[in-house]
C-alpha cells in the first residue's frame, strides 16, 4: 500500500533513534527528552489519584481543576488572561496541541508563515490539512532571528497564519519583546491568526526575555497558544499539554479534539494538577542544570571551532557543520555509527538546513562531556 521512500523528516529521526538503541554506550544528544525523571511529588499525586479518583471522567476539554491550574499558570508566567471554562483545552501533550492548532486555524490552500528552521511536525500537520508552508529563512550569524520585515514581505493574499515558536526549536532563538510587538502588529494589520508555541518558555538564558504574543494588545483574540508539561516538568511520557485562546475558537478546538482523540488520560491530568499547583523547585533545579550544560556545550563547540546561533532559550544548540562539506543526515549517521553519539540532522527540520546539527543538553554533565569528546573526534575525522 505505501511506497518505500528514503527516510526524511521525522522518519529519519526515528531511524537514527532505532540505531542508537542498538549501542550500549550511546550518548543521546538528539531527542528532546530530559534526562530527569518526573519529580517524585507529581508521581505520588498521580498514584493517589489512581486510588481516590477512579470515577473521574473528564470532558474532552479536560478536568475543570486542571483548566483552572492552567489558567493560573498562563496568567502568572505568560501574562495571558483566560477563562478556564471556555478558553483552555487540555491535550495529549504539546504535539496534539500543535496538530489541533493547525487543524483549527488552517484549511486547504491556506498559507502559514513559518520562520525557519522550525520543528518539523508543523510542516507535517500543515500537510495533513493541505496548507502551504511559507518559509522565512533566518541565519545563525543573526542567532536565527526572524526579521519582521522578512515576515511582512512573505505575506500574500493566501496567508492566514503566522507561526511564532519562542524559544524556537531547533534554533533556540527567543523573539525579543520589541520584535514580538512588531510581529503581532503585522498579524493585526494583515488579519492573520497567530499560532504561538511557548513550550520552552521556562528555559530562557542570560538576559533574554520570553514574551507571549497573546499577552500583547490585540494579540489574544487572534492567538492560539500551546504549552505542555513535557519539557518543564520532565513529563514527556505522560502526554499532557494545552491550548489557550479566545472562546469562539476554542469551542472549535475542543470539537476537533473530540474528533481526533476524544479526551486526555485522566491520570496524566491529575499528575498535571500536581505539577502546576505543587512545589516548583524541581523546575528551577532543572533550569539551572540546563544553563550549566548549555555553557559546557557551547565551550566545546567553540573549541571545535564550530559556528552556531547562540541558544537564547530551549534545551539545544543548532550548530553549523558546513565545514565538513557533507549533508547533515550523513554526518549524523557517521557520528552515530562511529562514535555512538546521537545528534539530529538539520535536514530533518528543514531541507534548507542540510549543514546543521541539533544537539540537546538533556544528559547528565559527565555524559555530555563524554559525548562532546566523541563528537570532537568525529568532527576531526570529517573535516
Amino acid at each position: 500500500m505505501s511506497k518505500k521512500k528514503p527516510a526524511a523528516g521525522t522518519n529519519l529521526l526515528y531511524q537514527l533513534i532505532a540505531e542508537a538503541r542498538s549501542y550500549d554506550d550511546v550518548i543521546v544528544m538528539g531527542r528532546g527528552d530530559p534526562d530527569f525523571d518526573t519529580p517524585a511529588h507529581i508521581v505520588a499525586a498521580a498514584k493517589q489519584a489512581m486510588i481516590h479518583h477512579q470515577a473521574d471522567v473528564p470532558p474532552a476539554a479536560g478536568l475543570p481543576a486542571l483548566r483552572e491550574a492552567i489558567a493560573d499558570r498562563v496568567k502568572r508566567v505568560n501574562n495571558i488572561d483566560v477563562d478556564p471554562a471556555s478558553e483552555v483545552v487540555v491535550t495529549n501533550g504539546g504535539q496534539e496541541a500543535l496538530f489541533l492548532m493547525v487543524l483549527a486555524a488552517l484549511g486547504e490552500g491556506d498559507e502559514m508563515i513559518v520562520p525557519e528552521p522550525n520543528y518539523n511536525t508543523y510542516a507535517d500537520s500543515l500537510a495533513f490539512v493541505g496548507g502551504v508552508k511559507v518559509a522565512v529563512q533566518t541565519a545563525h550569524e543573526a542567532n536565527f532571528r526572524a526579521d519582521p520585515a522578512d515576515v511582512r514581505a512573505a505575506i500574500s493574499d493566501k496567508t492566514r497564519a503566522l507561526l511564532l515558536v519562542s524559544p524556537n526549536n531547533p534554533a533556540a532563538n527567543v523573539i525579543s519583546p520589541a520584535d514580538m510587538r512588531v510581529l503581532v502588529d503585522i498579524a493585526i494589520e494583515h488579519d492573520l491568526m497567530i499560532l504561538a508555541d511557548d513550550i520552552y518558555d521556562l528555559f530562557v538564558y542570560d538576559d533574554f526575555v520570553h514574551t507571549s504574543p497573546a499577552s500583547l494588545p490585540g494579540g489574544k483574540e487572534r492567538s492560539l497558544t500551546l504549552n505542555a508539561l513535557s519539557k518543564s516538568y520532565s513529563m514527556t511520557g505522560w502526554r499532557l499539554g494545552w491550548i489557550v485562546g479566545p472562546a469562539d475558537l476554542m469551542a472549535r478546538v475542543v470539537a476537533l479534539k473530540a474528533a481526533i482523540s476524544g479526551g486526555t488520560s485522566i491520570i496524566a491530568q491529575h499528575a498535571g494538577i500536581a505539577a502546576l499547583t505543587g512545589p516548583q523547585d524541581a523546575v528551577e533545579m532543572m533550569a539551572a542544570a540546563y544553563a550549566r550544560r548549555r555553557r559546557l556545550v557551547l565551550d566545546a563547540l567553540d573549541e571545535m571551532g564550530m559556528d552556531y546561533g547562540l541558544p537564547q532559550g530551549g534545551q539545544f544548540v543548532f550548530a553549523n557543520i558546513a565545514f565538513t562539506g557533507m549533508d547533515s543526515a550523513e554526518v549524523a549517521q557517521r557520528i552515530l555509527s562511529e562514535q555512538h553519539v546521537l545528534a539530529y540532522p538539520g535536514s530533518a527540520f528543514s531541507k534548507e538546513r542540510k549543514d546543521y546539527l541539533r544537539m540537546t543538553f538533556l544528559q547528565p554533565e559527565a555524559q555530555l562531556v563524554e559525548g562532546l569528546r566523541r563528537m570532537k573526534l568525529a568532527m576531526a575525522n570529517l573535516s
Binding site: M1, F128, M193, E221, I266
Partner: protein, 364 residues
Amino acid sequence: MASQSKANILARHAANAALNIPLPAIAMRGARDLGADEPFYPLDERIIAGAADAMESGQTHYVDVPGIPPLREAIAEHLNADSGTSWGSANILVTAGMQEARFLTTQIIGAQYASIAVPAVAHPGLRKALGLKRREVLSLPDEPERGFLPTLEGIAAALENGCRLLYLESPSRLSGAVYSASQVARIADLLAQHDAAAIWDAGLARWVADGCSSLAAQAQESVAVIGEAWHGSGLGAWLVGAIAAPTDWIAPMQSQKQIMAICTSTASQYAALAASEIIGETQQQRLAQMHAQRAAAVVLAGELGLDILPGAAENLLALRLDASGRGKLAEAGIDFAAGEDFGAPDTIRLNIGAATIAALETLA
C-alpha cells in the same frame, strides 16, 4: 476590530456538521450514567500497582510511537486467543483511546482508497473522525430489526459499485448486535472477491457470551481491527486503545500518530499492561453478572411494552423510546446515549448495570 480571518475559520468549522455531533461520555460518571461508552468498575489494585511502579521506576519518558513492546505483545496475544488471528506485536499500534483508533484508521487507511462505506448507524465518533477531511463516504443500508447491522446485500452492492474499503462494527456500538460466523465468512468472501479491505471495530466483542466471529480471522491481510484496551477494565478514562493491522498499514498510521501525539501516555500503557494480565480473572464473573442484569432488563422492558433491539453484547441494551419516555428518564436523573447521535432516531442505549432496572422502572 473584528477579524475576518477568524470569522472565516469559524464559518468553515460551523459548516462541518460532523464536528458538532455529541459523543457519549468515555466512561460512566456515576451509577445513573447509563449512556457512557464504558461501564465503571473499580480498578484492581494490581492495575494501580502496575502503573504506579512503572512511574516510580522512571518510566516517565517518551516511549516508542506504536506503544511499549510488552503491551503490544499482550494485545496481539489477547486478540489471537479471542478471535483466531495470528497478529504479532509488529501488527499492533497502541492509541490514546478508541477515538484515536477510529481517527487513524479512517483517515490513514481511508486515504489509500477513493471512498469508504460505513454503517448508516454507528458510533458517532466514526462520523466525527471521517468529518475532518473531505472524502467520499457511502452509507450502508441496515436492518433495524437486526440491530442496525448493515445488510450483506448492501455491503455487496457497495463493493460491486467500486467501493473498496468498509468500516463495520461487530458488536454494534448502539445495539450490541453481531454478525454470525457465516455472515462474517460471507463478508470475507466479498472482500477477497473485490480485493477490498475493512476496518473492523471489535471493541465490545468481550461482552458477547458465546464469542464473536472476527473478520480478521478470515481476512487478516486486508482487515484492521480496532478496540479499547481493555473495555470494562476500569481504564475507560485512561484512554488506551489499539489497532491491529498488516504492517504496511501500521507504518503510515504510526507516522501520523507521531505527528499528532508522539506516543500514548506511559502511565496508561503500563496500567493497560497490568490489566492484560488479570483481565481473564474477572471476565467470566462480570459477563455472568451482566447477563443476569440484562436478562432481567429485557423481561421488564417486555412487560412495559418497550421495543427492544436485538443485541448479543451483554453490556448494553438498545430500545425504541419516544420523547415522553426520554423525558421520564431525564426527570429521574438517568443519562442514556441518544440513538440519533448514532444515526438512529427514537432509539436509546442503556448501559447494563445495577441501575438499569431502576431506569426502566421509571418508564412504567
